[in-house]
Symmetry: C2
Subunit: 270 residues, 2 copies
Amino acid sequence: MHKAQEALMIDARPRLLKAEPGTAGLSGAQAIYPRDKGAGARSDEIARVLSLLLKHLPVRRRLVHAGDLIFEAGQPFNHLYVINSGYVKVVNTAADGRNQVVGLLFRGDWLGFDGIATGCYGCTAQALEIGEIWAWRYDQLLSAAAAEPQLLHELHSEMSRAITRGRDALLSVCTLPVAARVAEFLRQWAESLAARGLRNDQIILRMSRAEIGNYLGMTLESVSRALSSLARARVICFTEKGRRMIQIPDLQALNDFIQADAQAPGAILQ
Amino acid sequence: MHKAQEALMIDARPRLLKAEPGTAGLSGAQAIYPRDKGAGARSDEIARVLSLLLKHLPVRRRLVHAGDLIFEAGQPFNHLYVINSGYVKVVNTAADGRNQVVGLLFRGDWLGFDGIATGCYGCTAQALEIGEIWAWRYDQLLSAAAAEPQLLHELHSEMSRAITRGRDALLSVCTLPVAARVAEFLRQWAESLAARGLRNDQIILRMSRAEIGNYLGMTLESVSRALSSLARARVICFTEKGRRMIQIPDLQALNDFIQADAQAPGAILQ
DNA sequence: CGTGCCGTTGAACTTGCTCAAATCAGGTGG
DNA sequence: CCACCTGATTTGAGCAAGTTCAACGGCACG
C-alpha cells in the first residue's frame, strides 16, 4: 500500500495575477468573502503578526511564481519565511530518494523552522501559485523577539501550529480510508480559506492528482476515483471549466461523508 | 487500508528501577555503552541543555511509572516538559475518537509544544516506562530565554526537531511497505539509543504490538508478521526470554533490508 | 495538427486487513 | 509448587481496499 508517489516538479505557466502586498492574494479562491462569525479572527491575527514583524524588523520580499523554489533541502539555514500571498508545498526527501509532500501552506504560515536545529533546511519549499513570500533573518528575528515578548510568543505559536499540523496529517493518513482522506483534505483546505476570510465554497487545486496523492499517501488514480465518487454523491461539484476547480455546496455534507466513511471499519475505541 | 488501530492504555506493573536524575536512565537498554565516534555528541548536548535550564530556572521533577499520563489533550497548557529518563508516547485524538500514536520520545526530548498556540495541549503524553520528567513553566522559560540567547536557541532547536520528526514519520508511513516500516522503526529506536550513548544492539519494546501498529499505521498482526519475517531473515533476533526484547546484531543489515524492501515498487524518482 | 501531459475509467492483481484458532507468558490463588 | 485464567502474540485462510497496468479522451502548446 501507499507506494511512493512522484511529486513532479511543477513549472506550469501561471495565469497572470498580480500579487498585492498586504492583501490576501488569491490563494485557491477568487475573491474576498464577507466575514461570518469568527471566520476572520485568524485573518486578523495574521495581519496583526505581519505588521508586528514589519514594525520591528527589515523584511525581504520576494515575488514567486508557480514552481519557484523558496528553499531547498540541504541549503544553509539563515531565513525564516512567511507566506504573504499564494500557497506553497513542503516536500521531504529520504536519503534513498523517496519523497513526500508533508505540508501545504497558506497566507500567514511560516516556512523553514526545520532548519533551526541542524543549520540546514530539511525540506524543499515550492510555490504552487504566484504569490509573495516575506523573509527575515533568523538571527535578527531572535534579537527582536528577545526584546519583544509578543513577537516571541507569536513565533512559538507558529512553530506549535506546525507541529500540530504534522500530527494531524499523520492521524489522517493512518486512520482514514482513501475517500475520507481526500474529503478531509478538501475540508481542511476550505477551512484554511475560511480562516483567512476567503470564500470557501470553491477551491482551485493548483496541484496535479499525483501531487495530491503523494500528500495523502495514495496513488493518483485513487485521488481521481475518490473525487469522482464525491461528485457522484453530490458532496462536491466540478465546474464546467476543468477538473481542478471544485465547488463545495455544503461543507456539512463533506463532514458527514468523512464521518460515514471513517466509521466503515469496526473502530473499537478506547 | 491502515484502519484505526487501538492504542490501549497501559498499566502494566513496571519492574522496579530507580531513576537517577542526571544520568541516562535505562530507556530500552540495560547499560551505558562505551561511546563510539560521535555517538555521544547528542548525549553531551542533552546534558548541556539540561544543566543550562537548571541554572536559569526552577524545575519541577516528577517520577512517572509505565502508564502514567504526563498531560492530556484538552488540559490547559502551562508547562513544557523534558524527559530526563524513561520514554514516552504521544497520542493524538480526532474529534470522532480515532486516535493515533504520533511520537515516541526519549531522554532529552521535549513535550507539550503543541499547547503553545492554542493554550491547551492537543495530545496526550503517556510514560511507557518508569522515568523522571522535568517540568518548567512556559512563561518563566520565556522570560529566562529572552535574557539568555543560548537558551532561546535550544528551545527553538527542540521545536525544530519535533517538526522534523513528524515529517519523517509521515514520509515513512506514506512511502514504505509494512515490513520496511517496522524495520525503520527499529532502526530509529536504535539510533536514538546510540545518540544517547546507550547500547543499541538490543531494544526492549515496552509497547504492545497494537501500540506499535498504531504508531506505524498498520495492524498488530502485520507488526507480528513483519518481526517474524525480520527474524527469519536474521536481521533481528528474539532473545530466549519473551518477544519484547529484540537484538540487532548488525545495524547495516537492517538498513539494507529497508532499502531492499523499499525498492520493491518501481520508485520513479524526480 | 501532432505531441505531451493530465485526468478518468476499467480490469487484474497484490498487499495488507479481517477473522479465527492455537500458543505462550505472566500473574493469581489454592 | 502447580493449575488456572487472562491477555499478548503468532500464524493461517480468505477477503477487500487500493494499487498496477492499460486504454482512452481532453486540453494546451508549439
